[in-house]
């Protein structure tokens, strides 16, 4: 009892001394190394998540993808028919998505003779950044903001299934391209407007420039903005969506000669020359950038084709009127394994999803 207080005192002194060294070192480190921006690191972290999860998934479904790839030709055959048109067909199986050879993002650039060739930088699975004429290329993104080439060129970036890629255009506009999409744009903007062309799905964070509107052309819709954030989903033969997060966007529908201005939180669906604007939770439409799929009241067939595109797996569905007309809510985190995803789908009382020969076979649960 008598010794104890002295002991504690000694320990205390040692502790204080240890703490002093730690805190002194920390103080020196903090003076020497600039404080990192937690906000910036958080954004990087979330962007990295989508890529990392994808790598894990490709391990867990490696066998399936190989099977799917072997079976499928390396051509883009998305036999995604809207369900109501598909009903006319007599075949029993409806192919919702066909897996295609998985590769790397490809950047094609226009040459002086107007031909397009793949950029000399193959954006391979390579962490190292490469800089050519001020353009920074890597396996996750390409940055044109410091493009120093003398003449602007046309460029096309195509993203294979199962990947997400980020572009920073010359005007600092940020574009996230979802799996199986492509964007055509000039390496430097000039003229009265900033014109790009989109196929597939992309999230745009457009840098504000009131003198030079940003215009996105797609097969069926155009979007015109000054500076805003929104998602555009225009995969061939499926419902098209424009979802506005911030600012304002004017959506043009040349087929029906109509224009609509969206307010933040609004989504426009355009299908079969008909459109519908409604208030939505924009998270459902924009979180794919960070590795989430939220499907809110969507057709089962559209959900399955999105999943096929992301996991790059062929999806076949039995032609069944209940399944064809089914709408549902569904959440997927990309970090989930394929097994887990299939188990979650099978939890619906009417749904049976079975992996077979590298495909997912979807039937009505008996």
């Amino acid at each position: 009892m008598i010794n104890e207080p002295t002991n504690i005192n000694h320990e205390n002194e040692d502790c204080i001394e240890e703490r002093l060294h730690y805190e002194c070192e920390q103080a020196l480190l903090r003076i020497h190394f600039e404080k990192p921006s937690a906000e910036e690191e958080w954004v990087k972290f979330r962007e990295g998540l989508a890529v990392k999860s994808r790598k894990r998934i490709s391990w867990s479904v490696g066998g399936w993808i190989l099977g799917g790839v072997a079976a499928a030709v390396a051509i883009w055959i998305v036999v995604l028919l809207p369900w109501h048109r598909a009903v006319e067909k007599e075949e029993e199986v409806l192919v919702l998505f066909t897996a295609i050879e998985s590769g790397y993002p490809v950047i094609m650039e226009e040459q002086p003779d107007k031909s397009f060739v793949a950029s000399s930088v193959i954006v391979a699975d390579n962490k190292e950044e490469k800089v050519i004429e001020g353009v920074v290329y890597s396996d996750k993104k390409v940055d044109y903001t410091r493009h120093s080439g003398k003449s602007p060129r046309k460029s096309v970036v195509s993203i294979p299934c199962g990947q997400v890629y980020k572009l920073i255009l010359n005007d600092s506009t940020e574009v996230w391209l979802n799996a199986g999409s492509s964007l055509t744009f000039p390496t430097r903007f000039s003229g009265k407007q900033r014109l790009v062309k989109l196929e597939g799905e992309a999230y745009f964070k457009v840098a504000r420039n009131e003198n030079m509107p940003f215009v996105i052309e797609t097969e069926k819709l155009t979007a015109r903005v000054l500076g805003t954030e929104f998602n555009m989903k225009v995969y061939k033969d499926s419902e098209t969506h424009v979802t506005l997060v911030k600012g304002a966007v004017k959506v043009g529908m040349p087929e029906v000669n109509k224009e609509v201005v969206l307010m933040p939180g609004e989504d426009i669906t355009y299908v079969d020359r008909d459109f519908c604007v409604k208030k939505v939770d924009t998270d459902y439409y924009t979180q794919w950038r960070f590795g989430y799929f939220y499907f809110d009241d969507m057709y089962l067939v559209d959900i399955l084709s999105d999943l096929g595109r992301w996991y790059n797996v062929t999806v076949e569905m039995e032609q069944d009127s209940l399944l064809l007309n089914q709408r549902l809510h569904f959440v997927v985190e990309r970090s989930e394994s394929c097994e887990q995803l299939i188990a979650n789908l099978n939890a619906f009382e009417y749904l049976s999803v079975v992996p077979e020969d590298g495909k997912w076979i979807v039937r009505r649960k008996k």
Partner: protein
Amino acid sequence: MSDLKSEKQSIDLRRKEYENFFKENYARLYYYALHFIPDSEVCKDIVGDSFYYLWERIDAFRAETALSYMYTHIHHLCIDHIRRAKMKEANADAYLAMLQKWDTRDWEESEERIGLIMQLIEKMPASTRLVMEQCYIYKKKYRQVAQMTGLSESGVRKHVMKGLNAIRSYFSVKYKKGGV
């Protein structure tokens, strides 16, 4: 349908908690990694990997225990890195045992003291600062710093002692004033 809404809400909530945890602790974890490896790129990678590891286990995420867990994880990743890179394993013991015992209040007090020490260091002569940086950040021996600076070995030692004593006396005066 409402199941999905509530599922989304619970995922959102967990993610929000995680995001707050990330933003509140990123910097201090980064500086802890710098203790082992004075290279900001390597440390950012290590901290990022550690956060990713935590993200994969987000179902079990609890903000109260996560910090101590992250320190341990980063500690191990740093040691791994040092071994792989065949760097010298200086101070591998680190301060982990001490930090793991800390509670929220200890953390806050420590952050406050670090802030004060930064101010004290910034007032020190450039030569003292340089010597302390070499010893503390780059873990150099007095002999190596002596060669680098042209000071004698005992001169180096004196600079470090002078620096530390300035800090010690600042705090002991403060303790006395505080009546502890």
